[in-house]
Amino acid sequence: MSLDATRLRAVVHKELLDYRRKRAIVVSMVLLPILFLVEPVVSIFVAAPSESSSALDSFVILPLLYMLLIAVVMPSTLAAFTVVGEREQGTLEPLLTTPLREQEFIIGKGAAVMIPSVALSYLVYGLFLLAVELFAHPAVATAVFHNGPILLALFLFAPLVAGWSVVVGMAVSVRASEVRVAQQLGMLASLPITGVVLLLAIGVIHPTFPVAIAFAAGLLVIDLITLRIVSRMFDRERLVIGTKATRS
């Protein structure tokens, strides 16, 4: 696979510019993390500091992991728009007439969705930890900062789960007939991640460093495989005329 840096940069730059110009995207990108921040902040600040340190440790897991969903939910609708959206607004065909390769298109579009999603997720995590450090009860703060595997998962998993959400969203977008369908189906990408968060929260999976690393490695492999599948699903003929390619 040979990728051209100039073309990749052009796709990413244009996408980010396009997002900035669309107020609805900017507003949703700002509001969504704030909404996801409410529950963890409330949970942490109403936590009873008198409880044992092990009970506090368990208590802070769910609010922390809950924030991981920011990185899952935020990119899903944007990713679902990438291909079918271009098609609906009539810009896909001119784009496909350029030397842009399928992989460059997918990686460029995917990166443009991931960059703001991960950056905002990190910003929210940072703000949350800052708030905990400054305003939470010292016992609760200690519980939060002592949860190494969870904090690692939070920062390590944000790009990985965002990547998952992006590739699934793009897979749907490549095959969907219209944007609304793609965005509805793209939201399903968050289900497996939500499931894992739930399993961690109810104690079926115990958060340890090895578990975090194993999940990260597994997720990375799944992301790469899914990316490859999306690349193969990208069929210019289908995208231009809406039917499957036919060759003699």
Partner: protein, 468 residues
């Protein structure tokens, strides 16, 4: 003389004094006319970070030959090599060096020199490049291509060679058994009714969709999925709908597409493209604020960015007012003069007649290809139009007596159309007969069939064939 050799089948743009004068690839010799004096040659590929360059002096009676070959590692060029090495981590190709050799040439002996113009684009070939820059006599504006090529097109002067191309979507045939070729620098009109397969043909030649059967060569490159990127690098397609990003400005739209063609610093190109379509003053406007006609012009500017060898224009004047249409026509004429091949699909037959060197009529199958004058001759017998002051008493008897007239029919009040084999022989004979009969003659001349007549005749034939 200056010559370039590359072991890779890559296309290189040849830039002289900052202007791209054409492209070379694969064991070809290309001549570019230059003025006498000092020049800077740069061989560029969008796939490489660095472009090798060499200055040379063009002297009357000399050919300057450049040779490109893989550059060996030496301490002197270590820095460049290191950059190449780092670049090769993401772009695995060879760096080339230039070898400068001056040789004299017997066939170049003039003392005056041509301005760079009308330089044809060069098709791709095999695996070695030879390019020569020659100081040419005044008036010689065309380049030449010599040498052998491992995968040379059937006709090296053809920008497009299409052989028995067919596209089916399941049971439905979009177009069938289509064959034609288009020369470099030609404006080729592609006409036909709605649903005839014109757009599908353009999409097929533009590598957007795969043909069901048949073959084609686009800009010297065989049409295949593997060659898609290389073909798309050499062509530009303007779809019927310009498909602009409405939240971006005109310049931002063009910057995006320049980037997709691998052009990093394209400000000059963008400005030139906007000036070419008279949109220089709207560069900062959001595309959403432009009228349909202006958006069409932005779409046209976009096709100019990459300096394509072949431009596919699908209804380029659709939605444009007469003045804007005229500007687009002039632009197309200018592009033809620069050697760009234009593949024009249009419903406007006057436009095709005005702009196209040849036209093809497609109605699922290719009905005919040729120059408009040839098509008229093929389809219609030559005829004279006669307009008189008053009606002829018995026109049937009158025209039957004239030997040069094969047939006749009335065409409105006091007007007659006479079928003749040679208007130059028949016209004096008819005039004499009319004068002898004391008939006042207002007009006599050869009747011209428009392209519309040709079109309607062909389409009527198809409709009749379907009925029978």
């Amino acid at each position: 003389m200056v010559s370039s050799h590359s072991v890779r089948a890559r296309t290189w743009k040849v830039e002289i004094d900052g202007s791209i004068v054409g492209s070379i690839s694969n064991q070809r010799t290309v001549e570019f006319p230059v003025k006498a004096g000092q020049h800077l040659l740069r061989v560029k590929s969008t796939r490489y970070l660095l472009s090798p360059e060499e200055s040379f002096e063009a002297v009357a009676g000399q050919v300057v030959k450049f040779s490109c070959h893989p550059r060996a590692l030496s301490p002197i060029i270590f820095t460049r090599w290191l950059i190449w090495f780092l670049a090769s981590l993401v772009k695995h190709d060879l760096w080339i060096g230039l070898e400068f050799v001056n040789t004299s040439s017997a066939d170049i002996g003039a003392t005056s020199f041509a301005v760079l113009e009308n330089i044809p684009k060069i098709p791709a070939g095999a695996s070695e490049i030879e390019s020569s820059l020659s100081a040419r006599p005044s008036g010689i504006g065309s380049g030449t291509i010599t040498g052998t090529a491992a995968r040379a097109p059937a006709n090296p002067r053809s920008a497009l060679v299409v052989s028995n191309l067919t596209k089916r979507f399941g049971e439905r045939t979009a177009f069938s058994d289509v064959s034609f070729d288009v020369g470099y620098g030609e404006v080729f009109g592609f006409l036909g009714p709605n649903g005839a397969g014109k757009t599908t043909t353009v999409r097929t030649l533009g590598t957007l969709i795969a043909p069901t059967s048949g073959s084609a060569t686009v800009a010297g490159i065989p049409l295949s999925p593997e060659n898609g990127v290389e073909i798309r690098q050499r062509i530009a397609i303007m779809p019927e709908s310009p498909g602009l990003y409405l939240r971006l400005t005109v310049t931002e739209n063009l910057e995006y597409f320049a980037g997709l063609y691998g052009l990093r610093h394209a400000t000059t190109r963008i400005n030139d493209a906007l000036e070419a379509v008279n949109l220089g003053d709207r560069a900062s406007d959001l595309c959403a604020s432009l009228s349909k006609g202006l958006r069409q012009r932005v779409g046209l500017a976009r096709t100019l960015l990459s300096d394509p060898e072949i431009m596919f224009l699908d209804e380029p004047t659709s939605g444009l007012d007469p003045v804007a249409s005229l500007e687009v026509h002039n632009l197309i004429i200018g592009l033809r003069q620069k050697g760009v091949t234009i593949f024009l699909t249009t419903h406007r037959l006057d436009e095709a007649e005005k702009l196209c060197d040849r036209v093809a009529f497609l109605n699922t199958t290719l009905r005919t290809v040729g120059r408009t004058a040839e098509l008229r001759e093929q389809l219609f017998k030559r005829s004279l139009r006669v307009k008189t002051l008053e009606p002829i008493g018995d026109p049937a008897e009158f025209f039957t007596r004239i030997l040069a007239v094969e047939d006749w029919r009335p065409d409105g009040a006091n007007t007659y159309v006479l079928t003749v084999s040679d208007p130059e022989v028949a016209a004096p004979e008819v005039t004499r007969a009319l004068v002898s009969a004391d008939v006042g003659v207002l007009f006599i001349g050869e009747a011209q069939h428009s392209l519309e007549d040709v079109y309607l005749e062909l389409i009527a034939d198809d409709a009749e064939a379907r009925r029978s």
